[in-house]
């Protein structure tokens, strides 16, 4: 029976994408084993379970691997179909949620990563402006999707909350390192409140890393990146 098969998540604690899978499982109250991967030396299980991309997260349900974080979240919603639902019930609302999740991964996340790699103040400001522009659009989306309720998903956290909220740890680290506010009272007041609610949600607060811990990790990562790519 699908529901009592063993569930494993191959992941890495700093990864926002891995967090998505874990939050979804928590919402459904599904027990799972979290197998921490050393991304410098990927395990055989990871390479076997995700031969195409060799990336985390991978959900292994019984003996079946499911890859790609948003696909995993939808799979979890499909299999553990008892309440609470992760995707909205209305097809149009689902299309909107999927649209914004795709935007986050394909447009917004690359610009967010660009803040760390931007060379020079002007370039950095341009990327920060792009990221903030994205947040302003997401603020509007929040107002439309939430319809006055606490989350994008309404009363409960849903697909778009998970897709977006997983990045909050890294957003806070970026704000800290650059002395800026990316989500702020002036331009994105609703998102500011939503962010706190999301991080405090019981399905989230056990898996969202503390900003300090993530900041330490980020420093080590950036040092490694600089060593591998010294400036000309």
């Amino acid at each position: 029976m699908a529901e009592s098969s063993e569930v494993k998540v191959l992941g890495a604690w700093p990864s926002p994408f891995v967090m998505r899978a874990r939050i979804a499982l928590n919402i459904k109250q599904v027990n799972y084993a979290f197998l921490e991967e050393n991304l410098g030396e990927k395990s055989e299980l990871l390479l076997k379970s995700n031969p195409v991309h060799k990336k985390v997260p991978v959900l292994i349900h019984g003996d079946k691997p499911i890859c790609e974080s948003l696909i995993i979240v939808q799979y979890i919603d499909d299999v553990w179909s008892s309440a609470p639902s992760i995707l909205p019930s209305d097809p149009y609302d689902r299309a909107i949620a999927r649209f914004w999740a795709a935007y986050l991964d394909e447009k917004w996340y690359p610009s967010m990563k660009g803040i760390a790699t931007a060379q020079g103040e002007e370039a950095k400001k341009a990327v920060v402006d792009q990221v903030v522009e994205g947040f302003v659009m997401l603020e509007e989306a929040f107002v439309k999707c939430s319809k006055g309720k606490p989350f994008f998903g309404g009363d409960q956290i849903g697909y778009l909350d998970i897709a977006f909220g997983c990045f909050l740890g890294w957003i806070r680290v970026t704000e800290k390192f650059n002395g800026i506010k990316l989500i702020d009272q002036a331009k994105t007041p609703q998102l500011l409140k939503w962010a706190d609610r999301f991080c405090q949600h019981p399905a989230v607060n056990g898996v969202m890393p503390e900003t300090e811990k993530l900041a330490e990790f980020a420093k080590i990562l950036m040092a490694k990146m600089r060593a591998a790519n010294p400036p000309n």
Partner: protein
């Protein structure tokens, strides 16, 4: 209830073609509006302000953007006709994974084939064939990526077939020579599915378009 469905599209877009195929599979009547991608019209900009791209499906005044999001939407709303995604959750996840792969890996490497030259192009050609052989492996001995029936993954890839002539001419190779199973699959889709033969433009016309755009870029 009268449904009003409009598709904002561009004839050569492999993403727009996906939606055309899905609409045809479901037997849905719609109004096709060809878009000028250089001077974008106000309807497109209003309906897809975030990306300003086609395809956009407008269903009773409400826009849906992103080709695979649109196809899933059509599959969910017009549930009765020609199901495009499998019903089993694991197979659905599998279908979504591969459909996603087409739009990213296949699209990116295909584009590099006609945009690169010399040594870079040689390296790209190898990557291109590695990618297509991976897909042949995934297809295996099945008729379609969906198994016995044409479905979501087939739709996500078949539209690239109209670009194969462009890849082959720029890359100076034959896809059929390297990947005969994939070409056999593509021809099967064209032969067996009206939705596909109706929705795909002639490969030579796509090549003309790409050459014209390349000439314009060179003149700048």
């Amino acid at each position: 209830m009268a449904e009003e469905i409009i598709l904002l599209d561009f004839w050569a877009s492999m993403f727009g073609m996906r939606v055309r195929i899905a609409l045809a599979e479901k037997g849905i009547k719609y109004e096709y509006k060809e878009q000028d991608l250089v001077n974008k019209g106000s309807l497109l900009l209003q309906m897809n302000p975030v990306h300003k791209k086609i395809p956009v499906l407008i269903h009773n005044g409400k826009p849906i953007c992103e080709s695979l999001v649109i196809v899933e939407y059509l599959d969910e709303v017009w549930k009765g006709e020609a199901p495009l995604l499998p019903s089993d959750p694991c197979q659905r996840a599998h279908a979504r994974f591969w459909a996603d792969f087409m739009g990213k890996e296949v699209y990116d490497v295909g584009k590099k084939v006609y945009m690169s030259k010399g040594e870079e192009q040689e390296a790209t050609k190898k990557e291109f064939f590695d990618t297509l052989k991976l897909l042949e492996g995934e297809l295996g001995d099945e008729l379609y990526f969906g198994g016995d029936t044409f479905g979501f993954v087939d739709i996500s890839l078949i539209t690239f077939y109209s670009w194969f002539y462009t890849y082959e001419t720029y890359g100076k190779f034959s896809i059929e020579a390297e990947c005969p199973k994939l070409i056999a699959w593509a021809k099967r889709c064209l032969l067996n599915k009206n939705s596909v033969s109706k929705s795909l433009p002639d490969g030579k016309q796509v090549y003309e378009l790409v050459s014209e755009l390349a000439r314009k870029l060179e003149r700048k």
